[in-house]
């Protein structure tokens, strides 16, 4: 798993809005060591589509999002947005282009400035971009608040602490779409919300997408949420991509042992659900010293010598369904596969 390669990238004539190629992000630890947060990740997003990026915390999914925004610029690799490579764009042009890319963050309350009024928070993008007359500014802000389900009359003059988490996330959405972006990167937008509010926000995002023709990169650790919103799902593990496919296909018949483990861990509200332990044991290894070969091998029941020596390359196993694994689940398990380490099975 967790391999390199670009077989899953689609041809440029398929209206690709964002194309990330061989993205590497490393952080120095200060001790002549590096955190390999993202190691050779490639992915693309077609105009109008929602790509879901899923994985455990620490797998590098948020780092990918920030690297796309050039916050900070990645260590290496290309981020091609609408035909322009953002990594080599001069600062000024980058700022211009980046207006078309917006982000929504996980913590709805701390991502809003507590000292400012809601209408000023929503208008901030307009103010920075400039060129909006005062009257147009307030009309636009009112419209945005209305669209996300807040009453502009009462909400506009208030400050974020007067709102619930769900309402703050609505404000964040208004702030993100006010500049009429093409691509909105949602980094765990609903994981801090209650289930009933989560459903409202997910429905709102779908409405916004339809209304403004948005393209979404949706990052989350909740597989059910990702399936609900996505047209294409990318599974990441420890800075690498494991599996890419359409959600219905990927969830029904995962090819990567890691995806299978993730799916098995989802709590199911069905009281008769089988709790048989196919879920993963152990913790994510350290990204400072990632395992050789396939990075998932230390937690994988199918791993053998090949997985230690050689990194798998992503390949198309079924039409539109890609996996980076030496022993994908549609092949027989290797006879020599090492059983899990005793420490891991104790879980």
């Amino acid at each position: 798993m967790a391999g390199s390669g670009t077989a899953h990238l689609r041809p440029a004539d398929e209206d690709i809005l964002l194309s990330v190629r061989n993205l590497v992000v490393e952080f120095p630890t200060g001790r002549a060591e590096k955190v390999h947060a993202v190691s050779d990740v490639s992915l693309d997003v077609r105009r109008g589509e929602t790509v879901g990026l899923v994985g455990e915390s620490g797998c590098g999914k948020s780092t990918v999002a920030k690297a796309i925004m050039q916050l900070p610029r990645p260590t290496s690799g290309e981020v091609e947005y609408d035909g322009r490579d953002l990594t080599s764009l001069p600062k000024r042009e980058l700022r211009e282009t980046r207006r078309k890319l917006q982000m929504i963050f996980q913590d709805p309350i701390s991502s809003l400035n507590p000292l400012r009024k809601v209408k000023d928070i929503v208008a901030e993008g307009l103010d920075i971009a400039g060129g909006t007359a005062r009257s147009a500014r307030s009309a636009t802000v009112d419209e945005m608040l209305e669209v996300v389900g807040l009453d502009p009359e009462t909400a506009g003059e208030r400050k974020p602490h007067e709102f619930s988490g769900g309402q703050c996330q609505r404000i964040s959405i208004a702030r993100a779409i006010v500049l009429d972006p093409d691509l909105v990167i949602c980094d765990e937008p609903v994981s801090a919300l209650d289930v009933s509010v989560q459903a409202q926000i997910l429905n709102l995002l779908e409405d916004m997408k339809a209304r403004y023709g948005l393209t979404l990169l949706f990052i989350a650790h909740d597989l059910a949420v990702v399936k609900n919103v996505s047209d294409r799902v990318v599974v990441m593990y420890l800075g690498k991509i494991c599996e890419v496919g359409s959600p219905d296909l990927l969830y029904a018949e995962p090819l990567h042992p890691y995806t299978e483990g993730l799916l098995a861990a989802i709590p199911d509200p069905d009281p008769d659900a089988d709790l048989a332990d196919r879920a993963l044991a152990g913790d994510l290894p350290s990204p400072v010293n990632p395992p050789s070969g396939c990075r998932f091998r230390t937690r994988c029941a199918r791993a053998d010598a090949l997985c230690t020596e050689q990194e798998p390359v992503i390949q198309e196993r079924r039409p539109g369904h890609f996996v980076a694994c030496h022993h994908p689940l549609d092949s027989p398990a290797p006879p020599t596969s090492a059983s899990r380490s005793p420490a891991a099975t104790r879980a």
Partner: protein, 377 residues
């Protein structure tokens, strides 16, 4: 050997169960209000709960439903601004917690009842090693000497699935991953063999894979120890396969309570059904429109009379705004033994169907919520 020490200490404190089959926890008419600048917040407003020894109860509710205040009241760790109203009664193994001596109280909440928190850093201090924190509890409550406490601490860590326990004991909480820390939190909670464990959102801060490990671990330990457990969560999926009974809380009250399988099959309260239906299901195809619950939970400051869910409920009739339904009252559909709900027009009863049909004909509920065919929550 530990069993003998625990038995001796319990007897010494005069905390042996009042009767051999006394319920692990019995909460009667609990009301916890908070005096705030904005008014009196009725966080818990008349909760009755009963957990038999060795059973597992899931308490499900959203933020603000009062589920955490309930657990803190049972643990006796309420904030100073909390007021427990007269008439509230909490009994643990038959002991009324209001009448305990200081010494008894210390032992009861230190050893007989324990809690696992959402963020393990809440129960672990960052400035002491894991070993120091575990042995401190063991020495204090069980009177073990230093060497025996270290041996027991190692046993505990091994028991909760932590490899190399001797090395881990010398480490600080920040050296451990989130999952490992929660395992230490569990080891700490279970160190004195409690008879009741309260786990308040124990896996909310964790990844799905680690969540699965921790829930399995709690289930295994609960079965091995035969202790009672209350699992508090906002995620019905977490409690579905792992509890004997479920209580659903809304706005400070229990609105439905039943054996787990009964509740999930024949849910009666419109809120329970709405909660279940708002969860995205992996089995559904992608882009399935989610059935969100309209509106948001009520503030529990000076609540108006009537059912607290009425404003969001497609079944709401004029009666729901005038009268407050009581859990276990004489409502339609309270037929299955052990299944209690607080709704005048419950799901799956002729009364409920009629209420929805009437609202549909009027285009709105008695509370003014617009309804159409799709709002069968």
């Amino acid at each position: 050997m530990i069993e003998a020490v625990v038995t001796e200490k319990v007897a010494e404190a005069g905390l042996a169960p009042v009767e051999p089959d006394a319920p692990a926890l019995s909460v009667t008419d609990l009301r916890v209000w908070f005096d705030t600048a904005r008014g009196l917040v009725r966080a818990v407003d008349g909760v009755n709960l009963h957990v038999e020894a060795g059973r597992t109860l899931g308490v499900v509710g959203e933020s603000g439903s009062g589920k955490s205040v309930l657990s803190r009241a049972v643990m006796n760790i309420l904030a100073p601004s909390a007021v427990v109203l007269p008439g509230s009664r909490i009994e643990i193994e038959g002991h009324d917690t209001a009448t305990l001596t200081k010494e008894q109280a210390r032992h009861l909440w230190g050893a007989r009842v324990a809690m696992v928190f959402q963020d393990p850093m809440t129960s672990l201090t960052p400035v002491l090693t894991v070993g120091r924190q575990l042995t401190e509890t063991l020495r204090r409550h069980l009177g073990l000497d230093r060497a025996a406490a270290v041996t027991r601490a190692e046993e505990l860590l091994r028991w909760v699935g932590i490899p190399e326990p001797a090395r881990r004991l010398r480490q600080y909480p920040h050296n451990l991953s989130g999952g490992m820390r929660q395992r230490v939190g569990i080891a700490l909670a279970l160190s004195c063999s409690p008879r009741l464990l309260i786990a308040d959102e124990p896996t909310t801060a964790l990844d799905v894979t680690v969540q699965h490990q921790i829930l399995n671990l709690l289930g295994r330990l609960q079965a091995e120890e035969g202790m009672a457990m209350i699992l508090i969560t906002h995620d019905l999926g977490v409690v579905a396969g792992r509890t004997d009974d479920i209580a659903v809380m809304y706005a400070g009250r229990v609105v439905e309570r039943a054996p787990t399988k009964v509740l999930l099959r024949e849910m009666r309260h419109p809120y329970t059904r709405a909660l279940v239906r708002s969860i995205p299901r992996v089995a559904d195809p992608s882009h399935t429109r989610l059935r969100a619950i309209p509106g948001r939970p009520p503030t529990v400051i000076d609540p108006p009379p009537g059912c607290s869910f009425a404003a969001r409920c497609p079944h709401a009739r004029p009666r729901c705004l005038a009268e407050t339904p009581v859990l276990g009252g004489d409502h339609p559909g309270n037929t299955t033994p052990g299944h209690r709900h607080a709704c005048f027009f419950p799901v799956g009863t002729p009364e409920g169907d009629q209420a929805f049909a009437d609202n549909l004909a009027a285009g709105r509920t008695a509370a003014g919520l617009p309804v159409d065919e799709g709002s069968v929550l």
